[in-house]
Symmetry: C2
Amino acid sequence: MRQTDYVILGLLSEKPLSGYEIKKLIDIRFRFFWSESYGQIFPSLKRLNADGLIEYYIENIGGRNQKKYSVKKKGLDALRQWLMLPVEKESIRIELLLKMYFSNYTDNETMINHILKFETSHKQDMMLLNMFNSELLKLQEDESHEAILKVIDFGLKVNKAYVDWARETIKFLEGRDIK
Amino acid sequence: MRQTDYVILGLLSEKPLSGYEIKKLIDIRFRFFWSESYGQIFPSLKRLNADGLIEYYIENIGGRNQKKYSVKKKGLDALRQWLMLPVEKESIRIELLLKMYFSNYTDNETMINHILKFETSHKQDMMLLNMFNSELLKLQEDESHEAILKVIDFGLKVNKAYVDWARETIKFLEGRDIK
DNA sequence: TGGCTCATGTAATCTGTTACATGATTCT
DNA sequence: AGAATCATGTAACAGATTACATGAGCCA
């Protein structure tokens, strides 16, 4: 059992999904802290099914076939076990900071452009997070989306830090440019 | 040429280093945004040397042999080229957020403990960053450590966001506990 | 003397991405 | 008709970690 397996079990615990839908969900909801490729998702579904943690039925929506997977008791048990296990150290790789660190070997303009792209991309993320946030608040089902709201809040805080840093650093580099 | 190669070229551009020293530097200075294992570093040094981007001499310090690598012109050129290339999208995997997202399948106490560990670890990171920061300021060589200070500032901002979130979320979960 | 850190390195394994194949449906 | 999206899947490759091997000097 690897991390991909648990992400899938977790998502299926909400409602039955196809591999394709799982990929889309991860890309949208988890974009700022997780990612998976088809090359991970489909083999994982195959294994989980073979091991009796999930099952599927073929659903036909508008003449289109989908393999809808749902989680079985054994799968939920595995999910619960995993949730109690110590959290793996997060893995983070930010090439931009590497380039910033060694930036005395390039010019200000290059670095400013790199950071501008970074800023734009994370402003985008913040917008998406804000949208997702207000959608959840609208539902107001009293049913605990609280945990999810906390995850969104994490994203907003961290992305704000990113964007703030980018702004300040661009200003700093521009200021140095004039001299 | 992969990312590991450029990290090494960048570090060697400051001063000659052994593979062992490179590993230590990355673990300490880059800990909050990068990591490399020996299984990446040593083969990379071998390749870079074979391709004429770096060279080495054996240094004997206190009877202990070290292969000190230094970067050659071809290596610096490669570094400069890479700095101008578009920045790779950062890759981030935070298992804690996955567990938070699915936390309705476990109890508050478990989650609080997970988050406490996270908080402690990132407070530690902040302390290290602050130390590194004041050391650099002391040097005050006027020689531009500015870029490095900016990298540290990034770390401080992001880790502060982590710790703030952790504090708030623990409070929230504890509050829910009493009810 | 035994354990720790220094120091270099590799092989096996695992993880993850990319590119491709296939085919149906929907949209323009 | 042709392009885009839906949908499932795999093989090849690339990237990265882990565990191990080896050996020397340092410290208690």
